[in-house]
């Protein structure tokens, strides 16, 4: 990922989108224009710019790296297929998230090829047997021993997320991880803002019960 693109991602990750901000990011607009002209490298740049955000959000929802990767790929392929239908009335990443969330929900419902593994299930990879929760919680830690406590907490949180209903999990991920505003979440999920608020508070209550020992 280019430095500029990384900065943009960091910037987007760190700030909540202003309410009512509908104009597309200038850089995105330029990349999309080039995409429409058939410039492959422009689409490659878009993928690189947003892949981490999309991948992370899907991973937190489905809890499985392979599935998250598959769904992230599908999100971008679908975005490219429907590029002409993007009217630039919203931020490009809002539109991308909508595709990603729709795909995730659809795949989850079909529950065929996709298997949303439980985090406490075990998987064998060569000689190593490990818990999926640990893979997710510890993936960035070079020295797991130094952050054992933190990793355990993260695993517990991810497990709690996976226990609550998907409709609640998605709003929590979008609000607390992706730091989207209610309006934006409502656009992504095509839901009224009131429903978003209500789901969010119910999700937090459920998580509070699941993680009660960590909150004391």
């Amino acid at each position: 990922m280019s430095e500029e693109a990384s900065n943009t991602v960091a910037e987007n990750n760190g700030t909540r989108e202003d309410k009512g901000k509908l104009l597309i990011d200038a850089e995105d607009a330029e990349l999309l224009e080039r995409c429409r002209k058939g410039r492959v490298e422009a689409f490659g740049a878009i993928v690189k710019k947003y892949q981490d955000r999309i991948f992370n959000a899907i991973l937190r929802i489905c809890g499985n790296r392979d599935d998250a990767e598959e769904l992230t790929q599908e999100t971008f392929v679908k975005a490219l297929e429907n590029l002409n239908s993007f009217r630039q009335a919203s931020q490009f990443y809002t539109w991308l998230f909508r595709i990603a969330m729709n795909l995730t929900i659809t795949k989850r419902r079909r529950a065929t090829r996709m298997h949303f593994s439980r985090l406490d299930s075990e998987r064998t990879d060569g000689d190593q047997t490990y818990r999926l929760g640990e893979i997710i919680a510890d993936q960035h830690q070079k020295n797991p021993h130094e952050n054992a406590v933190k990793a355990d907490i993260n695993r517990r949180v991810q497990e709690a997320l996976m226990k609550i209903d998907e409709q609640f999990r998605i709003v929590v991920v979008l609000c607390d991880i992706e730091q989207m505003g209610y309006e934006e979440i409502s656009r992504v999920l095509n839901l009224p803002v009131g429903t978003v608020k209500s789901r969010l508070h119910r999700a937090r209550n459920l998580l509070k019960n699941e993680l009660s020992d960590l909150l004391e």
Partner: protein, 396 residues
């Protein structure tokens, strides 16, 4: 929603900073008054913080390459689960139906343009799908016909002076700003002007084919606005000929021909109508049908074909049962032999190849392409006319 629930929702919105300042102040006052609420708020803030603190996972480094590779190789083959089989089977069924529809459309479309017909065979009825026009003495008795479901019209003009009639027809076309597709350059230019892809039939451009020494065929796709005017002028040419013309038959109710029905083409005299009715009955009764059109091309064509036999038969026997007539049977055999079943070249043969070469552009322009493909004769505002000039008295 009860009061407690409302307050809990307000707290959730409060920690997200989503409350208007007035409501936020009210919540703060409430929190000061009710310590249990403050505790609840603290718990919710901790939950939010725990979620936020989850490490951010990065996508695999090669994800972009994988995405682009997927784009390049689409449509891709997937392993199908048994559960999904039903859905895919339903989709396949729909595609099959569409395919059958296209085949039927082609079968009904082509004979009309060439004056083709269906003839009986030993085992039943065999369709001459891609036939050349019938000999002039039979074809000369054909008139106008419509193909149900398609806005395609065939007009047959018998003439004793082919060259003159040809000039007249071309003059009509020219006066309606319809150009001759004399070269690939013209076709390309027209397609470009109308923003059509290579699969679409160009509008306002006519194709002239010398199908026999005494027969010339014109094909043109026009808008329905032009249609009535052109038909009237072509009818005037028909009327001015010194040779007998085929009775024109009013098109029956059909989806594609709906707009065409307004054009009154019924010149059929009472006597001829009766004759047509009689011959049809005879054919049906004997179960052979003599020369018959494919059912999808409509009853009109059946009548035209039978009328053709009737005409030929009358010259030799004056009257009689056409299905029993030896001369008619001989004619059928001659016709069957003379009709080659050759496939027309597919114009869009290279489209697949070009798609694979430019798959990325095809992706981004998919919708735009779809919209241009809609420009065909099945479009409600377009119609296709096929005019066949036949020199009746000139040597072949």
């Amino acid at each position: 929603m009860d009061e407690k629930e409302k307050i809990a929702e307000l707290l959730s919105a409060y920690i997200d900073g989503d409350l208007p300042s007035e409501q936020a102040r009210a919540v703060e006052e409430l929190l000061q008054r009710q310590p249990e609420l403050a505790k609840e708020l603290e718990s919710l803030q901790k939950v939010k913080q725990l979620i936020r603190d989850l490490p951010r996972a990065s996508a695999p480094d090669d994800l972009a390459q994988k995405v682009l590779a997927r784009v390049e190789r689409k449509p891709r083959v997937r392993l199908v689960s048994i559960r999904r089989f039903g859905q895919l089977a339903a989709a396949a069924g729909i595609i099959l139906l569409i395919g059958i529809g296209i085949i039927i459309t082609q079968l009904t479309h082509k004979p009309t343009r060439t004056g083709g017909y269906k003839s009986p065979s030993a085992s039943g009825e065999k369709t001459l799908r891609r036939s050349t026009p019938a000999p002039s003495n039979l074809l000369a008795s054909a008139g106008t016909s419509f193909v149900p479901g398609k806005a395609v019209m065939s007009i047959f003009i018998n003439t004793d002076n082919l060259a003159l009639t040809q000039r007249q027809v071309e003059s009509i076309l020219a006066s309606n700003n319809i150009k001759l597709a004399d070269s690939a350059k013209t076709t390309v230019a027209v397609r470009k002007a109308n923003k059509l892809d290579r699969e679409s039939q160009p509008i306002n451009i006519f194709k002239r084919t010398q199908i026999k020494p005494n027969q010339i065929r014109y094909e043109v796709v026009i808008t329905r606005k032009q249609l009535k005017h052109i038909i009237n002028e072509l009818n005037a040419i028909r009327a001015s000929q010194n040779v007998p013309q085929v009775p024109l038959i009013t098109p029956k109710e059909s989806r594609g021909g709906k707009g065409l029905e307004r054009i009154a083409l019924a010149e059929t005299s009472q006597g001829e109508t009766k004759k047509l009715g009689e011959t049809k009955k005879l054919g049906k009764k004997r179960g052979t049908g003599a020369l018959r059109q494919p059912p999808t091309t409509g009853e009109e064509k059946i009548e035209i074909a039978k009328a053709s036999i009737s005409e030929a038969d009358r010259t030799s026997k004056e009257k009689g049962d056409i299905t029993k007539s030896a001369s008619a049977k001989r004619q059928i055999k001659v016709l069957e032999k003379s009709h080659s079943i050759s496939k027309r070249p597919v114009a869009a043969a290279t489209s697949k190849e070009s798609k694979s070469r430019h798959s990325f552009i095809a992706y981004t322009n998919k919708k735009a392409k779809r919209s241009t493909r809609k420009v065909t004769t099945t479009q409600p505002h377009l119609a296709q006319i096929v005019v066949i000039l036949t020199a009746v008295n000139t040597a072949r």
